[in-house]
Assembly symmetry: C2
Homo-oligomer: 229 residues x 2
Amino acid sequence: MLSQPINHISFNQPMNHTDAAQLYSLGQHLPEAGELMGASIIFRRNAEIYGEGEPADYLYKMLSGTAMTYKILSDGRRQVGGFHLPGDIFGLEAGDAHSLSAEAVSRCNVLVVKRSALVAMAGRQQEIALEVLQVMGHELRRVQTHTLLLIRSAQERVAAFLLEMAERNSTGDVIEVPMSRQDIADYLGLTVETVSRTLTQLEILGAIELSSRRRIALRNRSMLHRLNC
Amino acid sequence: MLSQPINHISFNQPMNHTDAAQLYSLGQHLPEAGELMGASIIFRRNAEIYGEGEPADYLYKMLSGTAMTYKILSDGRRQVGGFHLPGDIFGLEAGDAHSLSAEAVSRCNVLVVKRSALVAMAGRQQEIALEVLQVMGHELRRVQTHTLLLIRSAQERVAAFLLEMAERNSTGDVIEVPMSRQDIADYLGLTVETVSRTLTQLEILGAIELSSRRRIALRNRSMLHRLNC
DNA sequence: CGACCATTTGATATGGATCAAGCGATGTGG
DNA sequence: CCACATCGCTTGATCCATATCAAATGGTCG
């Protein structure tokens, strides 16, 4: 586990160009990295993956678990920018510094890639540059959709959140919700109380079933879609 | 005006690689384009530049005037994604279709670039690929900042809007506001009434002066910054 | 078992939406 | 050039969704 051949960076599909000489060296600011040149890191629940303002020298691909990006406003409120599930790439920024912080929502395994290495590769191989563009475009669309969420009613926001999670988890009708109600609230621009109330209200309506704190079953998707419109 | 050498696409600074063989042919779906191979187009006020769902075959650089991107929700509400001032590039999308519509807020002159041409160039020249990435990253950050706006109070949103416009216009303390109150409201996720009320309130506080409908003078920037935090 | 923290539930307050009307600028036809 | 229509903007009155404050409940972990 001292080196990681290039083809371990798979964005959508695994890439087929092997470039074993290219290593991803890990900076010592990364927890548990030490002197290792490995690329896969475990973060404990609540561990900071990177902080706002830190140099954006790395980007991250979620292998297992869930992370979130967020920003703390001057008045103490927190806005969650997004949740990152297995397969997602995050930490790709415009400038040289992260504009959001990232934190592990649950224990997670993250592939860490040095940005400069990726940029160098992108310079040599067109497909990689295009894939990076695609990842960024995808992220842009996600954030735009999130923007649209924030102008809707509480019920619409919660319904949209549930459907989004269902679509991304896609384990049938039961959603695993690793994040706390507070995390959800900060993602949706609501208070915990409103999220909680809305969930029970959706349960009363028969749209969902709150199996346990971190598990929600969708009972009536079309109703959720109707609320979501 | 039948052809346009490559170095007319300047993102941040003009690029110095001439590639006169490369033309930007304009699709006939673009107004006033006709059979021309030219790249600079005038749009009248309220003219549609592109529509949501249309193929994103072109991207656009604002030369003069102001445009906005927006989306109509199923309930009829409109969310404005952003305003585009001279120098801005817009229309760069993740997939093959536009996820928002774009419309001229004032009469504007727009440079139109065929996406496939740009992608081809990006494949050949690393600097161009990097510039495209930078443009996208910039846009991503802008949208993220917009997201943060939408969870704030009305006063904070309006103050932030004024400061944003001042920063981008940078003609001293007087802002030209080409967009209607309704456009501003839809950008900030408020109603026209609230925008109007908040502006007069800011005037009473001495933070601004409503010189005319489309012209606002900043009288006390630090007050606006304080409201903005 | 007991302490703690997340979540839910309840009561009340409030910021912004909604409904409604007035006002002022701009444009048009006589 | 003026009367008038129109549209965008402002101002006023009221309502409602969500925030806020407060307390009860329940799950988790030592």
